[in-house]
Every structure is written in structure tokens, then in C-alpha cells.
Subunit: 185 residues, 6 copies
């Protein structure tokens, strides 16, 4: 599991949710989680969440912290479980230093009371499975009530690094758990 | 996903972590999560966590809330991800009504500061994968510092029901997420 | 397993054999079997059976009862077994009230003596596996000798409902069979 | 897919439903369907259908035509679909020469009106999946109303050969169907 | 496993690495290994090895012996293992009659000292996995130091036939090995 | 992929071919290849190769270099391919410094002319797949004509280390190959 923070603003428009994005752009070969910061605006033709397409949902944010995860594996069910663990790890990271912050995961979303903090999708490519998760940095001008890292005084770069380290550790720890257990009857 | 609370004290000694436990005992056919309350004492020959065996760890509690989950599927990697989501859901349930309670998941364990709140293992049987998770009700006479539901004034039966509902909803929501997403390139 | 009869004429031209067809058109999320009635005319560029393409086979019928099945699973081998079970269930449904009707399944086709009654294909999409099966309603002007529901005095809507109920029950019953069996040595 | 008819009476007591039964006894290496004739009496400790165990069902027949199928594959879901196709093929074989015989498949059982004609189970071993299907030859002294091949004047050996040929052809034809189809979108 | 030598010059430009190539062109239905002889020139847009794309590698040879393998299976990891076994079988075939020839496999390449003898890639299509391996016949005008069958006085047609027979025998022998082994604890 | 040479004589009697052997004995958690030196004598009840059992084959050697490989994965077909690659790597290692040594792989065996150099088996456990390969050190008193490392003046410890490094590098290189390739059509 490789991790990488790309320290240049990059707009997320859905084309980043492609197989080998980390390899082609940052030369990371193999399973990876990468992060970058930038606006989010996904035109309908790039949306893979068909529920969003049907609801004409607008995926938009002036500034987000984006994560792209890729596992070279074909099991989308497992990837969706990993996606939700990633969301839980983001909440852990964000609340660790902010004891009074009450975030909760609902499916693959993060909410602070009625405020939406994130967007996320897990999908499969012909050679891998991928996750995109975007955490609002700014909460301005969003189509529905949101909160962002700026509202909490959280540094996006620090959150990115913390989350990527947690995710890598989680994956390692699950591989170990898989290998240390005896079957039952 | 069937759910069932068995309202009679039952001691967990590791033999409950067997395929078809819910079917044979409670006539639940298919994927299920069940709960019961009782002491926990797993003799070494019933332990499936080989790390615990190697460390001569003693799995003991005077009283615990136990969950047994069974999925008729062979993917232990996915089951370990589900196990960790279950732990997160238990934390959600326990902290929902106790805003000041600071629990954190470390791998498949729940900690309150230095106090261990739970034990858990995920394994595979010849026909399925299973999870056992035990949450301390009592924290007395445990081999290491622990906290339990009694220390927090939480009702075990209520927690059991809340967790089982959350787990069933999570599984349903992941099945839906799997079915509503388009592949990417 | 969701079932749906779309009560408006719809021409099958092969573009219906696409992932999420039931979700996009009828808002059925998840595994489903749907039915509709209409002509069948699949241009070569939409054919997925390469044997038909090589043989320049013409997939045409003036009027057919169509079924589209989608399972969000990647195992095309299993889907082909399900397809053949579906064909057997269609025969069961058609012959239940017509004791003298002698239909037989040959591979994934239904024959009445030398008359072809159906066309069918099972394939995989990037996120699922799909089946199309078309049963002739009319047997007029077909490229080879055929029989259709009209020849047997069978009501297409009633057959559709009967088949969909049988298929859903079959899938449910297989899930139960999977969960109630002990492994052998 | 190898086929073999063992032309010596053999009692089925459940121990034949073991991996490598055909290899150890008849030197058939690989996927196989074999048949033999003999009484059926499965003691509870050899039963793998836990529903039968729970219902104290008695699996008994004075004389049956037995099939044992083994595929060296781990997918029990697919094996259950194959089992039901096998049942359909047995019905095809039995009714081909007896046009007036009305048999129907209900799950994995064959019924002639209220008379049970067969027993069947599909399960998994540590290296393979297996099916046992027994067709009554005799219908005498069975615990519930049954019919057998003798009642229909059908020759067990001829039925055995016919069914095994049909099963091998079905498997071959499904492998070809898998290989000749293009993916859809 | 079908084998076929196409005895007409054919240029390999990457478009041959498509699902059903053997079926569409040579009517081989199912798993196959085919061979043909001709130049090799793969334009960047047809390259599937992204490392080659990133390095602007030029895949070129005046004349090569080409193998295309297709297995109707989705496991690319297993296909890569088969690819490397194929390379070992090519070396076995080439050195059997040339005792002094010292070829070695490095990953999926064949080297004779510093001279590159082959190119190879394994990939997945929507319905199968595929391998292309090209062995230089000529070593003239290649972008880096190479050796070819002509340099060793080896007949390409004979090598093709020998390799295809070895590959088919290897696959058969692995299927048998899979079926004759008991599980361990 | 962890590697370990156990530098104490250990007799191989088949009980080492058990899941978690490397973890329980050498504390290697996860996928591993280990080596040790010692006699080989596998009683029939410990044999997993049923062909050997049927042929009353005697698996015996006064002294062998043993490898045990474990991958926490359920695909025995892939493991058999890995086993044969391991055999090829052993041949590479043994012949690298002995240019005149002509070893060849036949299935999962190594032969030097008519002399058998190795034994090997790949199997599955309830949680993993495993390989045992034994290379004769001594060729004395074997039930059939053999050659061993002593006959070639090869140091068993050096061969062990070389082979384990090659196997780890091969697995790493296959993981990279899996991640750098684009799907084809």
C-alpha cells in the first residue's frame, strides 16, 4: 500500500477515478492511496453513482481534500467495505485532536449534524477497484448545507497524511489478521 | 441478514464460533447476527487466534454481551473488513447516547483510553465465515484493565438490539451501493 | 430478487442487454428479473453471441415475451447455469396448464419438436451478469420454423408473471440450500 | 467430465459423499459423474442436510439408482445450480420415452403428483463440491409416499447411462457458451 | 486447450491481443494457444504494458514467432503465473536440441547473456485473460541487442509446435494435480 | 513474502505441510517460504498425493533440502502454477553455477536424465495453500534411481538461500506485472 500527497492544486472532475491514475501521474505501482487538494465539479457524464445521475445531483465544492484509493483486485463488495472503513478512519483522524467534534458516518457519507462533510464512491475498473472520497475544505456555495475542514480549523495536508497512514496501517493489520487465525468447524 | 437476541444467559467458551450455530440453536437459516449475554472463558484448545495462543493470552470476562455473525461466503479478507465495520457500529451505538464517551477502534479492539472494552475474532468455517465480538458488561476481575457497559450505565439488551439493527442496515446499504454504481475505465 | 412486468410494448434490439437496464428504466435497484412484450430484431452490431455473428444468424420475431435478468456478480459460468434453470422454469410454467404440450430444453433453447420457441443469451457486463430470453408470442414470418405462445393459447402476461415468480423462488431456495448444508470430508 | 456406471450393488450410507470417491474407487481422476444401484440408508451422523437432521428425517429406500457428481471447484452456489440442472436432466431422461409421465422438479426433489421420486443434496468438501442424487428404483416400505423406476417400467441402468451422458453434454455445452459470448456494456 | 499454427505471415500490431481472436479468426472455441510468424510493431496506442508506454519503449522486430494464449477465466494473477511457465516451456523447447544454448528467464523475458530473445505481456479482457509472447526469429535492426531463432538455427514452425504441445500438456497436468490431492489441516 | 532458513536438522514426515507451520515454529506471520535440511519419510497416513497412496509409493530420502511455502489464499490452481515456477527457480539456482548440469522439470518433478532429484506436492488447508518441495541432498538408499545436491557438489544452505530469494523476487515481480497492465478489449 503506497501513499502519496500531491502538493499541487488539482481539480477533481471524475476523470481521476480511472485505473492506474496513481501510476500514470505519480509513478506509484501497485495498491495505493493518494491525496490532493482542489475544487470538485463532476459533470453528469463522468458520474458513476447512478443514483446521483437519476437525482440530477450536483457534485460540487469550491475546495476539497481528495483521496483516490486503488486496489488491484476485482471484488467490489470488499472494496465497498474498505471504503466505509476509510470513512471511519477519516472521522477518527478529524476528531482525534477535536474532542468536541461530533461526526458520524451514514453509509459512505460523513455528517456533522445536518451538515454534509464529504462525498464518496467506490467502483471497479477493468483491472482494479477504486475509491474516491472528497472532504470539504471550504463549505461555501455548496448546493446543500455543508461543513469543511476550514470550519473546524483543521489543516488539509495534515489530515491527508494522517488518513493515508491510518489506511495503510489498517490494510496491513487486516492482512495480518487474515494470516494469524485458525479455521473453525 | 437475520437478527436475533437470545434472552437467556449463555457462557461463551469458543464452541459457539461454529458454522450453523444460529441455525442449529435458533433456527435462523442464512446470513445472521445474533446476540446473547453471559460470561466468557475460552480454553486454549478452542482459541482460533494463534497470536493469543502463542502469547498464552487468557480470554476471560465475568459477563459480556456477545455477538456471533455468520455469512455464507468464503472470503475471509472481506469478513475481516466487515468485522471492523461491526466494531465501528458498536462504538456508534455506545456513544450515540453518551456524547462524552471517547471510544476508539484499534484494529478489531475497542479501547477507552487504556481500558480494553472488547474482544473479537473473524475466522472461516468449511461453509461460511464467522465473527465473534464480546463487549464487557462487567469489568471486574479481568486479566488486564477493562471497562464494561455497566461502567457506562448502558443496557446490554438495548445495545445488542441497536448494534444488530445497525449491522443489518449496513449490509443492506452495501448491497445497494454495489448495485447502483457504474464501472469506470 | 426483484420482479417487474413492464406493461408497454418495447422492441428488443440488444441494447436492453446492458447493466442497470432495470434500474435506469424501472428504478429496480439490485438483482432483478423483468419482463416486457414486443418485437425482436437485433442488428449484428448488438449481438453478443459470436456464434450467431459468424453464422450471420438473424435474431428476429414479430412479437416476443422478453425477460432480462441481472445479478450483480461476476461469475458468468454460474450465470449460464442460472440461464438454463430459467429455461426449465419457463417450460414448467408453459406446460403446467397444458399437459399435452411437449417442450424440451436443448442447451439454452426451447423446442417443440422441430419448432424453435425461444432465443437466449447470458453474458457479463463490467459490474454484473445478464440474461436475455425471448419467447415467441407470434410465430409468423420467422427465419426458421417456430411456435409461439399464441399457437398454444397462452397469455404472455400470465406466463411472464408465473416465470418471474418461479425464478425468484428458485433463487431464494438455492440461497437457503447453500446455508443449510454441512460440508463433507 | 468422466462418467462411470459401477455395475455391482452398493449401499449408499452417506460415506460415498466424500471427495475423491470416484478416484479412490474407480480411478476416475478429475470432474466426474458416476452411478450405481443399491439400498439407501443414511444414519443421522452422516447426514449433511441440517434441515433433515433437525426434522429427524429418515433417508431410506430399499433400492435406488445413485449418482455422485464431483467438480474440483469451490463454488457451492454454482454447484447447487448444477444440481438442479441434473434433476431437470433426470426428468428429461425419464419422460423422453414415457410421454404420459408427469414429473416435476420442486427445488432439488422430483415429484410425481404427491409421490416423492428422489432425494438429493449438494455440498462442499475441502477440495471440491459434490452432489448425491438418489432415484427410487423400488417404492416399497419408504417412510413417505414414493414412486420408483420399477413403477414406471424404467430400466435403472439405461436411465443411469442416459442421465450421465446428458450431464456431460450439458457441462460441455455450458463451457462452450461461456467461451463464445462477448461482454456487454 | 486447443492448439493451432496459422501458416501464413501475419504482422503483430497489438490488435491480436483481443478476446476471441482465435475464435473469430481460426474458429477455435474455448481455451487455446495459437502461433503464427510475422513482423512485430506495436504502436503506443495498442500497448497494454504501461511501463513500456511510460518508457516510450519501441516494441519492434522484423520477424517473430508469436503465441497468443486465451483462458476464459478472470484471474489475471494466475494468468501471469501461466505466462511465466509458458516462457519456461519455450526455453525447454529451444534448449532441448541445443544443449549448449544458455537461455534464462528474467520475469517474463528470455535472455541469452545480454541479448533479449522475446517480448511478452499478460492481460485481461472483459471475458478472459490473454498472453502474447513473441520470440525473435530475426535479430536484425532491433532497438536493443537481441538474438533470434535464426541465430540458433532453430526452425520457427517446429518450435511453435513443440511449445504449443508442451503448454497443452502442462495445463492438463496441472488440472490433474489439482484433482488428485487431498487437503491438509 | 517472508523467507527463513531453519539451521537445525528436521525430519520431514508430512506433518510440516500444515497451515501456520512457519508461524507456529518460526514466528513468520503471513505468506512465507522456509527451508530446512533433514531426512524425509512420509508415512501413508500423512500423504496428500492420492496417486502416491494408490501406487503405494514410498516417499523416502536419507537427507533432503526441504521448502515449505504458504500463501494465505484459496486458489489451489494458482498454487500449482506457483509450485511449478518454484521448481523452475530451483533448476535455475542449481544450474547457474553448474553450466554442464542438465536438469529438467517434468510436471512438478526435477529429473537429471533418468535420476529423480526432487519430490513435491501443492495442497490447500482450511485457511491457505501450501507447497512442499524436497531436493535430495543424499542419493543413497532411495527406492528409485536418484541424484542429490551432494552428487553435484552443491551446498544445500546456499541453494536454499538462493531459491528463497528467487521465489520472493518472482512473487514481487508478478504482483508488479499485475498492476502495470491495462486491460484489452
Amino acid at each position: 500500500m503506497k501513499t502519496y500527497f500531491y502538493d499541487t492544486e488539482l481539480k477533481y472532475d471524475g476523470t481521476q477515478l480511472h485505473s492506474h491514475f496513481a501510476y500514470k501521474n505519480f509513478n506509484l505501482l501497485g495498491d495505493s492511496i493518494i491525496a490532493f487538494i482542489g475544487p470538485c465539479n463532476v459533470p453528469t457524464e463522468n458520474m458513476v453513482d447512478l443514483e446521483d445521475v437519476q437525482n440530477n445531483k450536483n457534485i460540487f465544492s469550491e475546495n476539497m481534500l481528495h483521496f483516490i484509493v486503488e486496489h488491484f483486485d476485482h471484488d467490489l463488495e470488499k472494496m465497498i467495505a474498505y471504503q466505509r472503513l476509510l470513512i471511519d478512519l477519516i472521522i477518527q483522524e478529524m476528531t482525534e485532536s477535536h474532542e468536541d467534534l461530533r461526526l458520524k458516518r451514514v453509509g459512505d457519507d460523513i455528517y456533522d449534524d445536518i451538515y454534509k462533510v464529504s462525498v464518496s464512491i467506490a467502483t471497479s475498473s477493468p483491472v482494479s477497484c477504486l475509491i474516491h472520497t472528497g472532504i470539504n475544505v471550504s463549505s461555501k456555495n455548496t448546493p446543500l448545507p455543508t461543513k469543511g475542514l476550514e470550519d473546524y480549523g483543521l489543516n488539509p495536508h495534515a489530515v491527508a497524511t494522517g488518513v493515508m497512514n491510518r489506511y495503510r496501517a489498517e490494510i496491513d493489520s487486516m492482512i495480518k489478521a487474515r494470516a494469524k487465525v485458525k479455521a473453525c468447524k
